[in-house]
Point group: C4
Chain length 384, copies 4
């Protein structure tokens, strides 16, 4: 498995979504009979799709709608919603801004307004008022303060999220974030991320995480890879973390689900992420393309607002349909961005998987997408 890339330097081969495909076997199951639910702590969640805590993906209204549809949306407590009372107006300004200079504009909006505890409370109450599950996220350095306000306001799930989330952190000036203590003291489940790698995942599970977000720079040409050189393709990242989850479960009896987050573009990627070992997936742009999304038609990453080193820009995601159509169809396009749950059911059924657990073990092929085939297939049969 180790490759010598030169001299004595070794590297492991990692695989991304476009390099694998799933293959049916001798059994097919009716898609209607497939069970796609998963568990977060004691909570059984009907839909294994989470909405990512991006400014452009989740506002309180969308979070409530996502809950109604059986999924889970995470609101960013470090983002525009908790910095601006008139968040919707600000988000529209970002959407309307010309591409030229949009990173600078987002940087300035973040720099100009600090996070307000009262807005944290307000947003959570807005979610709860509409009957939603309030899942909220903050970075480690803001987590204590944010969690206090959030729990007080009735939050149901807390997410500690940073580009690379680990138990161990060294700094001459910033104290290490006490993840284990935080999880232990939290009255609500704590999801931690993002991570890759067996050991880091195992450490976070030991620290008490209720679930793990998997994915660091997963897109091959995503900005973390370009800016930092960092990025692990998601099939490998997911499979590595799944091994840690399974071992931790075997050793402790506690099952900590892993959620593949980043780089997922369509139903095919969702199926592949689960087949690689995920219990659920987290989507950003695909949700940001919902009619109900906060910045209709646009999305940007959490690191776009970085004052010194933005790692992502605003992208146009278009509008594909209502959130309900995106999750449950009907789809009127064939690109895998609508009816995601229907697609997952059909995929699992075709692969003979009764449930998520069995889906984690269907037959997988390494089958690269060749660019030339793409072009040629403009003329292909489309029978599939």
């Amino acid at each position: 498995m180790d490759i010598t890339v030169g001299g004595r330097r070794v590297a492991r081969r990692a695989y991304g979504f476009d390099e694998v495909a799933l293959a049916p076997g001798p059994l097919v199951i009716d898609a209607k009979d497939v069970d796609v639910s998963w568990k977060l702590g004691d909570l059984t969640i009907q839909c294994p799709i989470l909405a990512s805590s991006l400014d452009g993906a989740v506002n309180p209204a969308l979070a409530a709608e996502m809950s109604r549809l059986g999924g889970l949306a995470v609101l960013n407590l470090d983002g525009i919603q908790t910095r601006y009372e008139n968040a919707e107006e600000i988000l529209q300004q970002i959407a309307d801004h010309p591409s030229e200079g949009v990173i600078r504009f987002i940087q300035s909006l973040y720099a100009a307004a600090p996070v307000r505890a009262d807005l944290i409370a307000l947003r959570i109450k807005q979610i709860k008022a509409n009957g939603g599950i309030a899942a909220v996220a903050a970075a480690p350095h803001t987590a204590h303060k944010a969690a206090e306000a959030a729990v007080a306001a009735g939050a149901d799930v807390f997410v500690i999220q940073s580009t690379v989330g680990t138990v161990k952190f060294e700094s001459s000036t910033i104290p290490e974030f006490p993840i284990a203590e935080f999880c232990k003291n939290s009255p609500i489940p704590v999801i931690v991320g993002n991570t890759v790698g067996y050991q880091a995942t195992y450490d976070l599970m030991e620290a008490g995480a209720a679930a793990i977000l998997v994915g660091v720079g997963p897109g091959h040409i995503c900005t973390s890879r370009k800016v930092l050189g960092i990025g692990v393709p998601q099939i490998t990242a997911t499979a590595d973390c799944a091994a840690a989850r399974d071992d931790y479960f075997e050793q402790t009896g506690r099952y900590v689900p892993i959620i593949t987050d980043g780089g997922i573009r369509n139903g095919g990627d969702i199926s592949k992420a689960i087949a690689a070992g995920a219990d659920a997936v987290m989507l950003g742009s695909t949700i940001a393309a919902a009619k109900e999304a906060p910045a209709p038609g646009y999305s940007w990453g959490m690191a776009t607002s970085s004052a010194d080193l933005p790692r992502g820009t605003r992208i146009q995601v278009g509008i594909s349909g209502t959130l309900e159509e995106i999750l449950y169809g009907p789809a009127h396009r064939d690109d895998g961005t609508m009816n995601l749950v229907g697609a997952l059911r059909l995929s699992m059924g075709s692969l003979g998987a009764h449930n998520i657990k069995e889906m984690q073990h269907v037959q997988m092929f390494v089958a690269p997408s060749l660019p030339t085939e793409g072009k040629s297939l403009q003329r292909s049969q489309g029978v599939g």
Copy 2:
């Protein structure tokens, strides 16, 4: 052969058409002396090319012409032909529809008109009236009713076709389709598909299939792979199924031909499919590009009409020539879409293969098509 993609997750490497090439050896045979015939049950068929049961590829007239030319065309009994008396008019409407909204239009046409038994009979009689072999296809859930009408009307070959066709099917509401019983009771040969994998193929052979259609989501960027994550590149799919065919033959003495269906774009792919183990191939778009095709210049997949989850759209295939020119030339283009039988003969001759059986064992290379070479070869010698 097994690759660890991460943790304990393993996957097999699969290969597609663009990743392999064939190599001549020390013997060349005159193309005129090459035997390209194959057997379907007791029937010897002169041309190893079948026309796929797409709306845009096969109508009764084309089926008859295909028969006259020594091949076999399959008419879809679940498609436009058996839903609309004025099928040609409807097909023209689909061809004329703007790209925007065409999936929705096809969905609505299918939803508006159920399959009619009288039209099944009519279409088959139209094929027979023109001297054609009537090969007809239906999905498992419509197969019983369709087969009754079809056999009564004089059909010669029946095809049970679904995205993933298996012996084993589980559902809480739909009874399992009794393939073995169906094959046993059918007065005409029953082709079953589509399948991939050794075991599923072997199961279908044991169930009595007269031939097997091989191919599930074969194109790398085809819609099944995007929507469902499912897809096995055809060289591997074909070789896997060929192994099942050979073993089944050795164990039972019955030879069940396998037909590679999907992703074939030109004569080169036909040669490669057979070299991977196929006895024949099934073409969709290439046939839909015939002057005689039902929706001149256009084609779409069977799953495009899916009400909830379309996996393919209408594509422009152009018009390359008459069906006879497509099969037997002369070709006036160099892209491998015309004179397919002539190309296969020349390929087999150059590779020293006297017949299909020997062609299944010529030397094959794994030789990826590099995108950059493609561009560079715009300036290459073209000697080839």
Copy 3:
């Protein structure tokens, strides 16, 4: 080395020009001191570059100029030059023809005029009159007649060339071409091609070939691969044939040079072909881009004229410079299409190879050209 692509089907991995690169070692040699000559039978040839027998590459005048410059050009005795007295006019018509229908036009020109023995004689005399070496080519089925006329007219080298040239040929109507007898009886050296593979090469050497042309469908997206599925990337083809040459030499003491023919686009490919084991290379389009070329700015393959199954079309090659500039510079472009001998000398010097023989053993890397890097390098340092 054998890869199982599925079931029991095995294939070897083959490598093309864009997949390898050469690496310097601890010695550099002055480019001026490098010896690039090679031997064809008793003849020492100063420049290891041959011009391919394409209509668009070689006419009598270019053949003479090529000889003057130390190389060798092959005139096609089955092409336009020996079918039309006013060949230059006809070639200009092909160059002037619109792209649409140009294959049909070339087909018609070949069909309308048979090869004439008097024109064979005329063309050879034109070459000799200008002091050139007359190397001429014909297909096996025309070789006897063509060779008689050619030898009588003073030809110096004869080339028997077909898409796949082998000693063994089976046909119910056409007698096998007696290569061994032909070589034995020929008063001039006989080059045979094209071939790939150890055994086929060894057979041709045993039959008496003076040199072997290596290459069958070498370009990855070239038309033979699309139309027939046939094609062996040139690094592998060359290395396989080089092994046969070395073994044949060891066993017989006769050294039969191999000439890599097809798919070479620039100086880099020439260096790589020789590093893979070639003694010389044959160029088509690169020569067709000379100011002196017969159809200025255009080229097409020998199989473009095929009445039934063209495998190549007319391509625009542009005009890069005089033949002398193409071979010896100075170059005023950086794409490796000019000063080919200068580039080869500098390459060999940088790699520490004193001569062609040593160049066949320099360090080679498998180093694929990634398409994304290409784009990125628009902004790279260009230091190289």
Copy 4:
């Protein structure tokens, strides 16, 4: 590790920047606490980034500014600066020249004006006058004369640079350059390059080089690879040379840093180069895109001026910001071309590397950039 590409020909697999990615582990370090300094002989240099001796990257003013910012810029003593008193004017003319014919124009400018000793002195004094470290480069055949003038004028570091720099050089007319003697006699540290390969690197270290420039034709489609067939992807080149450095250090106790030079386009590549074993990196186009660069917005390679065989042309690099912004930010773009030191710090911190030495051993993945993913990620989450 050895691959048989055909016959008995073997080749090693080499890896480039776009084929690898770095992966975090269980420890994260505060970016502010990371140590990015390195040593050149006795000199500790704060910033591991050198500016390449390209006409378009370094003039005396930029060299001084680079020094002020903690890095090192190398001035080319064979370039425009030492051939023309009015260098800035000439550089502007190159920048203003239309693309058509620009190689010829650069060739003519070099041919028209020889290097002048007085200009060497002038340029060095200009650097020193502004408080800069004067690092200057010359090719082996001009090195003696240039070094004499340079040392007299107060140069601090001398670089002997050629496309392939080795200890061993054979020529019938040019004497071998006595690298060992030159290094021994030089009053200032001598950096030598460029090289690849364990043995060549070891030889240069034994000869007394103070540091080694690593990289020969590193870009996959760079012009050395197209023109000469030569080029080693940088991850492999760097790792090979790093092994030589480590062995040489273990055997002699002298640590000779290696500097990866060529093909680096962004912060990600810098991180990867160091992770492959580099102690520092050298940048060309990225520096040429500084506001202070000599030919604003443009760059060209040292081999572009070659009279006979240019291997590179003028490319448009754009203007990304001031040199300080390029090195230390803030960045207002997300493509990894600004705040390079900040990005390196964040990368090292995220990967748990306290310093350059530890960064050379972080976890690396072979993770190819798939072209199709690139396109798809236009719609990806951008969370990274």
